[in-house]
Amino acid sequence: MDVKSLTLTGAGELLARGDCTSVELVTAVADAIRRTDAAIGAYLTVDEESALSQARAADEARAAGRMGRLLGLPVAVKDVLNVRGQPCTCASRILQGYLSPYDATAVARLRAEGAVMLGRTNMDEFAMGSSTENSAFHPTRNPHAADHVAGGSSGGSAAAVAAGEALAAIGTDTGGSIRQPASFCGCVGLKPSYGRVSRYGLTAFASSLDQIGPMTRSVRDAALLLEVMAGRDPMDSTAVDAAVPPYAARLREDLRGVRLGRPREYFVDGMSAEVAAAVDAATRRCRDLGAEIVEVSLPHTEYAVAAYYIIATAEASANLARFDGVRYGFRAAGATDPIDMYGKTRAQGFGAEVKRRIILGTYVLSSGYYDAYYLSAQKMRTLIRRDFDAAFERCDALLTPVTPTTAFRLGEKTSDPLAMYLGDIFTVTANLAGICGLSVPCGADAGGLPIGLQILGPAFGEEVVLSVGHAFERSRA
């Protein structure tokens, strides 16, 4: 069976028609992983045995007449989500030996619809990074060019989907970690609005910015996975109690009556001409599909990266304080007292980027600096939200590039963290404002590296964002 271009929806139809079984499907995907993952490094762990037994159970359930929106469909999960009985390394040494005693809510909802948990994908350690080079285990390579990065932090999920090693994967996005690797690898990635999907069971990086979302081969698949994962959760106070529309059923094929904004601050000097051209072409195509294009302004964009790195690292410094070697995970040997144990455990357990961000986050919260950094960043957040509020008065969604460039080379930015951070300029704004954003493939550069189109919608405006993405995707097919 060829799973390289099979969508989740397509596979679901095969299963429904009895053209194949879940066991066959899972076996085919596992074979693909065996063939290609040594060169890509998309996965950290694959539990084929467990996946096959889940697949058998799904086949039996189907035979017994039971249904499920994802019954028998394998899904890969970023190694930052808790899956009961599995490790959850967050690509860090510090979680060595940890086994999750519980399922993240998003995972439990996938399971409840019959999804098969196939394996755990690679990532930047604790989701901190834009290239998956910060994994403590190995980097993930771009399936389109092995000497280029897959993006990050959900690089493993993106590469697995792009390389035919997964039909769909779950990622997380704190400042672009779903959309940027989706763009670099040429797949679809959705960052839902903050509060749309429960974060319970997602190892927190920045609690006020993190969201879980799908990474897929089609917009329809993303809509389907969002439908399953979204909704309120008594275990997450920030998961909003808002109705979950049938996203997949409401996808539109044309864009008549839709108004799309082009924020001028997202087309800047220094960005790749090929990226700009591809996004311009995509914008014209949307106009051809019936959309009206308007110019809008998001004037505080220039402060977004600064505000983002203050807020994200501050929250991370507290969220990662729990990794101390007391209750689970790695503990350094030879400590004489608890303070010594913390210092050694964290020194040996965390990688350089995580340490840098913990130090930055600790600094911006420390006595005397709170107002200048954290409080100012939170005020800036208000201004950035207002920018979007004003823009969405004038249009239904925004069309922007996902990143200023296509995938860069492995090692190209590892010694210059600030340069790496600045690449997040077009994605961090959605997290700061809590709005939703979709990355869909819209072309490739001369070297064959994919380019993504970002469609930003208002908070809880996933329906319109997915429709624009779907219509655009269909028009390219």
Binding site: G195, Y303, A307, I339, G343, R346, A352, R356
Partner: protein
């Protein structure tokens, strides 16, 4: 190790790393000091914006009064919990002796 904070607004990596309970090697300290000075310099641009009278955003979603009922439920199995522990003594998490 520096435990006194510097007077200037420059980041003192050694002090902050101590607060964050991260032992750094001399090389790391030097490297991070240079990189973080550059990053702090960049994020300080937030101070250039006019933020007077602007309310801070702590939550982007309008949530309030999210409460649980006061009902107790069975927790995790102790064996499972202690199996995750790096070191155990008498069904407790063992740590180097705490001096008060």
């Amino acid at each position: 190790m520096t435990t006194e904070k510097r007077d200037s607004s420059d980041i003192d990596v050694a002090y902050v790393a101590h607060l964050a309970r991260l032992h750094l090697t001399a090389d790391e300290r030097e490297c991070f000091q240079a990189q973080l000075e550059q990053i702090v310099h960049y994020v300080r641009k937030i101070g250039e914006a006019d933020l007077r009278g602007v309310e801070p955003t702590a939550h982007v979603v309008p949530i309030r009064n999210i409460f649980r009922e006061d009902e107790s439920r069975e927790g995790l199995d102790r064996d499972e919990v202690l199996a995750n522990a790096p070191s155990v003594i008498l069904e407790q998490f063992q740590v180097p002796r705490i001096v008060e």
